[in-house]
């Protein structure tokens, strides 16, 4: 069934993009929050701006880079799921980075000193802080996931909404409603919301258990 294929691709693309964004965004968030360097304020301002990047602009940029005539054209990534993943990583990374940064900065300085005094260095310190701010970090992941799963403009541009190759739930909803198949569009919309709800449910359960 076609819809199953679309759902599987949606999961693959969003999953890949989410994992990469967590690694990149989380890493960036921790790095900026825990280190003092010149230009730190500017870096924070850039990350915060990135949280509101317009998806169509990101789509356009990725398109220009990946087109055959573009600088990365030799990789032949345009109109592939990888192109969609790249666009979504660019969109979700700043969201996760910004919220991670805010969470870590909210940890009282005293606690960081205490941890450091007890011998926590480098990765140990990061691990301790991550445990401490678990529920905020999960909120960051949920926000990133929300941005990724609901995105349509950028993936439409760089993926091309090709049947059986780059058609995901959001782009097929656009297509079906343009074709006048409103019923089909509504069904796909409900599937998308259900998927999004179940993933967020799981994350919320983990988050709330962490609060106890």
């Amino acid at each position: 069934m076609e819809i199953i294929e679309i759902i599987i691709l949606t999961f693959k693309v969003s999953g890949c993009a989410l994992i990469c964004s967590i690694v990149l965004g989380g890493g960036l968030g921790f790095f900026v929050a825990l280190n003092n360097f010149t230009g730190k304020k500017q870096a924070i301002a850039i990350i915060n701006t990135g949280m509101g990047l317009p998806p169509v602009v990101v789509g356009l940029l990725v398109l220009l880079f990946l087109w055959r005539g573009g600088p990365l054209g030799f990789m032949e990534l345009i109109y592939t799921p990888i192109a969609m993943v790249i666009a979504q990583i660019i969109l979700a990374t700043p969201i996760i980075a910004g919220l991670t940064m805010a969470a870590i900065q909210a940890v009282p300085e005293k606690m960081k000193w205490q941890a450091a005094a007890l011998g926590a260095r480098g990765w140990n310190l990061v691990w301790l802080l991550a445990k401490e701010t678990k529920s905020s970090l999960l909120a960051a992941v949920m926000a990133g996931f929300g941005g990724i799963i609901s995105e349509v403009g950028a993936v439409m541009m760089v993926g091309g909404n090709i049947r059986g190759q780059t058609r995901v739930l959001t782009t097929s909803i656009v297509l079906e409603s343009q074709k006048g198949n409103i019923n089909q569009a509504i069904i796909l919309g409900l599937v998308l919301i259900t998927l999004s709800f179940s993933v967020n449910c799981c994350l919320t359960l983990i988050q709330q258990r962490a609060r106890k």
Partner: protein, 274 residues
């Protein structure tokens, strides 16, 4: 840590590399929204892919953008319906082997009560003029598609000014524009195939048809590999040969007959119609 990063990088490179190797069997087909929205390509492409082993990436945009993609080497082969622009593309050397594939016709559709009395016009030029004079709503594709080019060429024959009080630009594909026109009870120019595909979802009726100005031919054009060495020229030629072959032409003639009781696209490749 550094070692781990290096390994991750190698893995990512392998992943992307494997994708690039597989990509030589891809053909990028830039075409009009009408061939996609009517369902014709959904019927033909699986057969082509099975026969040849190529994977077709169909990008359904207006004919204008489709040809721009050809000009920039972002597409391998074009299936479009905007004859004047097509000839220009070939003349400039960006397209080769332009061949007729099929035709149907444009129709003026609008609300059944026909407030501009456009149905009474003697020809399509007059029908458009009546709409302009009455101030009844008209939705233009305004997306540089073949349909849009045709519509503009008809307006040009009259000297009416297009005022944004009644002349609205949707900037979208044929299907979306029909839906907007339906909601606003407006006139619009449509290709017959897309209109028939939407007929049971909208209340718009055919107001004017049959003028020879409304003839709508589709051509297949291969992008010139001499201009863009990176394109998949072999794949483009295979696709163009496929769509103009006797077998495919028969499929095109039969397409839609069971669903609509009439032919949506009339094959042209064999009888040399232009």
């Amino acid at each position: 840590m550094k070692k781990l990063l290096v390994w991750l990088f190698i893995l990512a490179a392998l992943f992307i590399g494997s994708y690039s190797l597989a990509a030589s069997k891809n053909i990028i087909l830039a075409t009009t929204t009408s061939t996609v929205d009517s369902g014709l390509l959904d019927a033909l492409l699986p057969i082509f892919e099975k026969q040849t082993g190529y994977t077709v990436k169909t990008i359904g945009v207006g004919s204008g953008l489709a040809m721009e993609m050809g000009r920039r080497g972002e597409a391998d082969v074009l299936l479009v319906h905007s004859p004047a622009d097509e000839e220009k593309l070939v003349k400039e050397g960006f397209g080769i082997n332009r061949r007729p594939v099929m035709h149907n016709d444009f129709i003026l559709v609008g609300p059944a009560k026909d407030p501009a009395a456009a149905a009474k016009a003697a020809n399509v030029k007059e029908a458009f003029s009546r709409i302009a004079k009455s101030g009844a709503l008209f939705i233009s594709r305004a997306d540089k598609s073949g349909t849009h080019a045709k519509e503009l060429s008809i307006w040009k024959k009259n000297k009416d000014t297009l005022s944004n009080l009644w002349y609205l630009e949707s900037g979208q594909g044929m299907g979306a524009t029909l839906i907007i026109a339906n909601q606003k009870e407006a006139y619009t120019l449509a290709d017959r195939a897309t209109y028939l595909n939407f007929k049971d979802k909208i209340r718009l009726v055919i107001i004017f048809e049959g003028d020879k100005l409304l003839f709508n031919p589709y051509h297949v054009i291969e992008v010139n590999p001499a201009k863009h060495p990176k394109i998949n020229a072999a794949g483009a030629k295979t696709f163009a040969d496929f769509i103009t072959s006797a077998k495919t032409q028969k499929l095109i003639a039969d397409f839609g007959k069971d669903k609509y009781g009439q032919t949506l696209f009339f094959p042209d490749a064999l009888n040399g119609n232009n």
